[in-house]
Amino acid sequence: MNTTAPVVQVENLRKTYGSFAAVDSVSFEIQRGETFALLGPNGAGKSTTIEILEGYRDRTGGTASVLGVDPGKGGLDWKARLGIVLQSSGESGNVTVREQLTHFAGYYPNPRNVDEVIASVGLQEKEGTLIRKLSGGQRRRVDVALGIIGNPELLFLDEPTTGFDPEARQQFWQLICSLKADGTSILLTTHYLDEAAQLGDRAGVIAGGKMIDIGAIDELGGAEARVPIVRWREGATRYEERTHTPGALVASLMAGGAEPAGLEIIRPSLEDIYLQLVADHAQASEVENAR
């Protein structure tokens, strides 16, 4: 196998239900060893996209290749190279954590060590507990453990930390970082921007089924979106100005001698940039619909 070929290659991916386009001309690539985050509001098409790539849904149009295979036609050999953590799971779970992992490990040709996997998701103390008796967050960790037990080349994580407390999320991030260090390629969907910033090498923002931006995490939205904002008040009037030279602006404000009220200099966070992107897109499509 050519190790320099992208592990995921998607071009003009399209999925329609009747006249509704859930995914509309989405294109991206994931290189081997890379973690790619798909960001977007609920219903944007993230899960539909990831489920097409996992082989769960058929696409309406476009091309897709996952580990060199068309995901609509992937066989057992292909599935053995993937790890899938679905968005939700509600199994009855009448087996213990260890029984479940040992059993699933048997499905794969080169599974990870069960003890190591249990330790990596922090469930050593719960390994003898029936899965149905675990808390929601603990069950989610079992899901993640099942996703990595087969030692996958490519791991799909569909909103993996929804419902986690901050500590569990931190631990989960460490786990993903260790998988990245092992060379696992990862496709992650999330609506936590800090998660994408922590884990992602690159990210794509999806809204209304369209990829509205794609790039390295620190380049999303373009340079313009990162221009600092200076805010202040004069009497009851609020002012806001974007400038590459906030210091100079503040100095000019001070020229009058009076301290400006409510002075702030803000560098847009990833979250600000993301929200701006999504808002811009919503506005643009409204204008388009109005026409």
């Binding site: 082989g55 599935k79 029984e99 490990a105």
Partner: protein
């Protein structure tokens, strides 16, 4: 515990892989692993243990106690309620462990995401089915053993001692339990949600039991109802079991006044084929666009 789980993690192991789908040995090995997993989970599920596993024993006990004063045979050849109901309860066990249990179990697995998870793993569908049918077989054998033991030990039912009778028992049991399991898998396509599965499946099983000579003596039913029941497999399984456990003098009470074992084999076998075809057509890990 499986030893494969401790295989070392190697980067080089990723490049050399044989074709997983084509290996019958792998399918069987995973099937065996599934049987163990399924049986273990089954006995941890309190309601399934009661409503499918213990149900025939409970019903046998109730009938035996309720009708303990009645003679179900003739003046010359008396028969206790326990002896009269034993074959029907064994047949009911086949239906409950197979059809009812499988149809509800798989419908639930469909709706709770279990099958979706399997769809994303290299588990062959064949191994999954081996696991299901194996679970039905294991629990069915234990269930029949328990019913026969309770009938014999607690209610003094005399068991047949001719090997030929037990041979009949063996093939009717194996054919019956397999057919019942496969029909259960086929029927699991019917409920739209896991929650509605019991509401859809239990009435079907219950009606079959009432018209097939499980709770009501088959010879007491009107001819038209006997004919309706003859279209379904449970009547034939119960008839086969009656041949094994009832005195020869009861044969004249059957339809066509014969145990008709070839009929038992043909009717049950036909339903097995129907079940396999329906399963082949309808079973999917997931509906791709639901």
């Amino acid at each position: 515990m499986s030893t494969t789980s401790s295989a070392p993690v190697t980067a080089t192991g990723r490049t050399s892989r044989s074709s997983l789908g084509a290996s019958l040995g792998r399918n069987l090995r995973l099937g065996a692993s599934r049987i163990k997993y399924e049986v273990r989970a089954y006995f941890r599920q309190g309601d399934s243990v009661f409503f499918t596993f213990l149900f025939p024993v409970v019903m046998l006990t109730i009938f035996s106690l309720a009708f303990s004063e009645q003679n179900f045979g003739s003046e010359e050849e008396p028969l206790t309620a326990a002896a009269f109901y034993l074959p029907g309860m064994i047949a009911a066990g086949l239906l409950l462990s197979g059809l009812q249990n499988m149809a509800i179990d798989i419908a639930m697995e469909k709706s709770d995401g279990t099958l979706k998870r399997f769809a994303g793993t290299p588990l062959p569908v064949m191994s999954y089915f081996i696991g299901k049918i194996g679970q039905v077989f294991v629990t069915g054998v234990l269930q029949a053993t328990l019913v026969i033991l309770v009938a014999s030990v607690a209610f003094g039912v005399e068991l047949p001692n001719e090997p030929s009778k037990w041979l009949t028992f063996a093939w009717v049991f194996v054919l019956g339990v397999t057919t019942s399991a496969v029909l259960g898998i086929a029927l699991s396509a019917l409920p739209r949600t896991g929650k509605s599965a019991t509401a859809v499946v239990i009435p079907i099983a219950l009606i079959l039991q009432f018209i097939s000579g499980v709770y009501l003596g088959f010879s007491l039913l009107p001819t038209w109802l006997q004919n309706v029941a003859s279209a379904f497999p449970l009547k034939w399984m119960a008839q086969g079991m009656r041949e094994v456990f009832l005195p020869a003098s009861f044969e004249v009470l059957e339809q066509s006044e014969s145990w008709n074992l070839p009929g038992v084999a043909i009717a049950t076998g036909l339903w097995l084929v129907i079940g396999l075809i329906v399963t082949r057509i309808t079973f999917r890990w997931i509906r791709k666009d639901s």
